[in-house]
């Protein structure tokens, strides 16, 4: 009897241990196959890849100094568990998570952090923010194995966010000793990171293969291998998911209905971008007689847009009413609830009021509007949105001259004197990021590329107010005051009706539920590079019917 009891208890304890024990290498099975439209530069050296490529495939094998808030989206712990700023705002201290190792067994320390940031700023780096980093980072000090200080030339409140993969790729941590030992060329052939997946093979133009590590703080992979296939054609990607050749494929909103009808699960990642339209050079003397120089005319053009129709018919219902420009539910230091209510009212569809405003402003029969329609690579639905809103403007009497531009041809027009765009409206977009000021600076500062409120020679009142608010925000340490300043910055720009959101978009994926279990993406994060390790196998967590 006693022996039986002991045996039963032992079995129960063993089962309990097995159930609660962390996932080990022996539990990792199968291959997770992901088909994607672009693998960017398809290089495993972080200093040679831009944000999208880093987020799609480099993220699986590299950790970032600052990581994600997995539940809410935005910034969260990464290689650094926490970080703090000195009261003068000139130094950030990052405290490294203990026990991290690279795939060759080397410990990840503060030396690797310093080396990685310096490598991003060094010669040969194609990092987008290399020049900004060089300007704002004065020095990097290793305090001990797990503590590193970054001294800046001026208060940089947004530094941790800019070193988070939620915002930019420059926080990727690389192995100092290994790179110094083997050199850049060998590192690019046999890269080593500290992420939950190890590099196996890179076949240019075709695929990248990874294999799981046995244990990782970001989540231990449930699959043994991860293959990322480069499949540029969307219908082929969907076909591959239908046949089971791939478990997951990135798709656009136009393919959602077809994928769902074919029995695939369609996953939407909320808050990944905003489709917007904006007016160029409205403050310039040569535009002063143009209707778009008037704030109320610009507001009327917004009122003429039926956003719910766009959401329903262009985005197949998988989008939502936007917050103000470049803000989302997860934006840091931002009164999201207040602005959500404001946006619901401000961005309503009211063609009667739109016509009334146009008549009051002296355009009872409308006016001629030049509109440049464009889309960034991978967001072809933007062209459909642009076409739809041009049609809606026509209905309130505006005669739209619509010109389509491929993105590579459109982008150069923004620079220099912006002559081809002055007096025009255009489509644009903004990616989902938690820190609003960075994007606002790029759009509105008089010395920025777009300078939509004013330039150095001609900075009207709202432009000056923006500059003042933005500068105050850069050195404000108090969270409440920072939130108030962000709200003020949003208010100034929203009331200028220069950059106007149309919809808040989502990222979409077609999923074969027999090949991968149910998983949750990171809100606001289109790419799945930081999600693969938490994807269960289908038998572990089936999708709900």
């Amino acid at each position: 009897m006693l022996r039986h009891l002991v045996r039963t208890v032992t079995l129960a304890v063993a089962l309990a241990i097995a159930a609660t024990a962390p996932l080990g290498a022996q539990d990792q099975k199968g291959t997770l196959v992901f088909a994607v439209e672009s693998l960017g530069a398809q290089t495993l050296d972080p200093i040679l890849e831009g944000r999208p490529g880093n987020a799609v495939y480099q993220a699986v094998m590299y950790d970032s100094l600052v990581g994600f808030n997995l539940e809410k989206g935005g910034v969260g712990p990464g290689v650094a568990e926490r970080w703090e700023m000195t009261p003068d705002g000139l130094t950030w201290t990052f405290f490294i998570r203990p026990g991290q190792t690279f795939h060759n067994g080397d410990k990840l320390t503060a030396h690797d952090v310093k080396f990685s940031l310096e490598r991003q700023m060094g010669p040969g780096s194609l990092a987008a923010a290399a020049a900004t980093m060089k300007r704002i980072i004065k020095s990097i000090e290793v305090i001990d194995e797990l503590t590193v200080k970054v001294n800046t030339t001026s208060p940089q409140i947004g530094l941790p966010a800019s070193l988070s993969r939620a915002v930019a790729p420059e926080g990727a941590i690389m192995p100092k000793n290994y790179i110094e030992k083997v050199g850049d060329e060998e590192f690019r052939k046999k890269p080593i990171g500290s992420g939950p997946w190890k590099f196996v093979r890179n076949v240019p133009g075709d695929r990248i293969e990874f294999t799981a590590v046995a244990k990782h703080w970001r989540g231990t992979p449930h699959f043994k291998d991860l293959h990322m296939l480069l499949v540029p054609e969307e219908s082929t990607r969907v076909a591959m998911v239908r046949t089971g050749e791939a478990a997951i494929a990135s798709i656009g909103p136009e393919a959602m209905l077809g994928a769902a009808r074919a029995g695939l699960e369609v996953l939407s990642v909320p808050g990944t971008m905003q489709a917007i339209f904006q007016f160029w050079g409205t403050y310039k003397p040569e535009v002063k007689d143009s209707p778009i120089a008037k704030v109320r005319v610009r507001q009327a053009l917004s009122l003429a847009i039926d956003r719910k129709q766009v959401i329903e018919h262009v985005m197949n219902g998988k989008a939502r009413m936007p917050y103000p420009f470049s803000t989302f539910g997860y934006t840091d230091y931002f009164s999201a609830d207040r602005w959500e209510k404001w946006a619901a009212e401000a961005y309503r569809y009211d063609p009667v009021l739109a016509k009334k405003i146009l008549a009051e402003e002296g355009y009872p029969n409308g006016f001629e509007l030049k509109f440049a329609n464009t889309a960034l690579p991978g967001t072809q639905f933007m062209v459909d949105i642009g076409t739809a809103i041009a049609d809606m403007w026509t209905k309130v009497g505006v005669k739209v001259t619509l010109k389509h531009y491929e993105w590579g041809s459109f982008a150069p027009m923004e620079r220099g004197d912006q002559a081809p765009l002055i007096g025009w409206a255009s489509m644009y977009r903004t990616a989902g990021r938690p820190d609003a000021p960075w994007r606002y600076n790029g759009a509105f500062s008089p010395d920025s590329t777009q300078r939509l409120l004013g330039d150095k020679e001609n900075c009207p009142q709202d432009c000056q107010e923006f500059v003042k608010t933005y500068q105050a925000l850069g050195s404000e340490l108090d969270k409440d005051k920072r939130t108030a300043l962000t709200d003020r910055m949003v208010e100034i720009t929203s009331n200028s009706w220069t950059v106007i959101p149309i919809i808040e978009g989502m990222g979409y994926y077609a999923i074969n539920t027999k090949k991968v279990g149910q998983f949750n993406p990171i809100p606001g994060r289109h790419e799945l590079g930081d999600v693969f390790e938490r994807m269960p196998r289908p038998e572990q967590k089936p999708w709900k019917k």
Partner: protein, 305 residues
């Protein structure tokens, strides 16, 4: 003969120089890789730094002089996006395209030549019209649409074949059909025309008078003679396949030089685009030169002219 070859080689070099020049300037008219590599909120400072790092900051004529100087020494530059010598990237992918071409040509010949013969023999009849329909469809059907249709039927609905990517023999079937359909039409039309011409020849009438069976006359005597112009079109078809595989390789996720060209254009990877077009031009010029030399060897009137 040597003078003829030397003259053709010289023409080829001049043509290459013109191609390289056009590609260099036209490529730069369409935009800038920096715009595609930086996020939309990049600062002017970051843009300037990256432009300098990529060597795109000097006057365009200086950049052109550097490009020509290096190209004369066989250096076609580094791919901006892949950070790999552009010529190396081309030759890495070239074999993937070349493995498709013989199969596509074989398919085109196996189907196109008999169809052409049948059409010629039944000139104006039902079979001729049916073959004509095949030819029109083969030329008119966009390879993009055909590829997607084949994937839908044979991969998704029937589950017989993989929907794309390089792999075992079964991975070749759909891309080869997509590439080869155009050739079926081409071979069919050329064979038909050549057959009609040969069938009117005196030696064919003589063969019939001699009492040879109709099958022997058509398939042995007529076809053998009609194949001469058909075979000389190989060069053109191979050239078309090398340059025209872009769509097929994109639909089937085939990592060949067609896809490489597409990527070079999309990302404004100027050095890669220049290298791909120059090297493709060299390939096509070499094939055409080979055919011309062969012609000149066979028919002295050509080299004398």
């Amino acid at each position: 003969m040597k003078r003829y070859i030397a003259r053709r080689l010289m023409q080829g070099v001049i043509l290459l120089f013109m191609v390289a020049t056009i590609v260099f300037f036209l490529g730069r008219l369409t935009g800038n890789p920096v715009d595609l590599m930086l996020p939309e909120d990049a600062t002017a400072e970051d843009r300037a730094a990256l432009t300098q790092t990529l060597g795109l900051d000097g006057p365009i004529l200086d950049q052109y002089a550097i490009f020509v100087g290096k190209a004369m020494h066989g250096d076609l530059g580094m791919s901006i996006r892949m950070k790999q010598p552009a010529a190396e990237a081309f030759f890495d992918r070239l074999p993937n395209t070349l493995v498709l071409i013989p199969w596509a040509i074989l398919l085109g010949m196996i189907l196109g030549i008999p169809l052409g013969v049948v059409a010629a023999v039944n000139r104006g009849g039902m079979l001729d019209r049916a073959a004509g329909t095949v030819a029109v469809l083969g030329v008119a059907m966009p390879s993009f649409w055909l590829g997607v249709l084949l994937i839908f039927v044979f991969s998704v609905e029937l589950g017989w074949l993989p929907s794309g990517r390089m792999g075992g023999p079964s991975h070749y079937i759909l891309p080869v059909i997509t590439l080869g359909t155009f050739l079926v039409a081409g071979f069919m039309r050329i064979t038909r025309s050549a057959m009609l011409e040969v069938m009117e020849s005196e030696f064919v009438k003589l063969a019939r008078i001699k009492g040879l069976s109709e099958a022997t006359v058509i398939w042995k005597h007529c076809l053998r003679n009609a194949l001469i112009p058909v075979l000389t079109l190989w060069g053109v078809f191979v050239g078309n396949l090398i340059t025209g595989a872009i769509v097929t390789e994109t639909v089937f996720a085939w990592p060949g030089i067609g896809r490489l060209t597409y990527e070079a254009v999309i990302y404004r990877d100027f050095p890669l685009l220049q290298a791909v077009i120059i090297l493709k031009s060299i390939l096509i010029l070499s094939i055409n030169l080979g055919v011309d030399i062969l012609y000149a060897y066979v028919d002295p009137r050509i080299r004398l002219a």
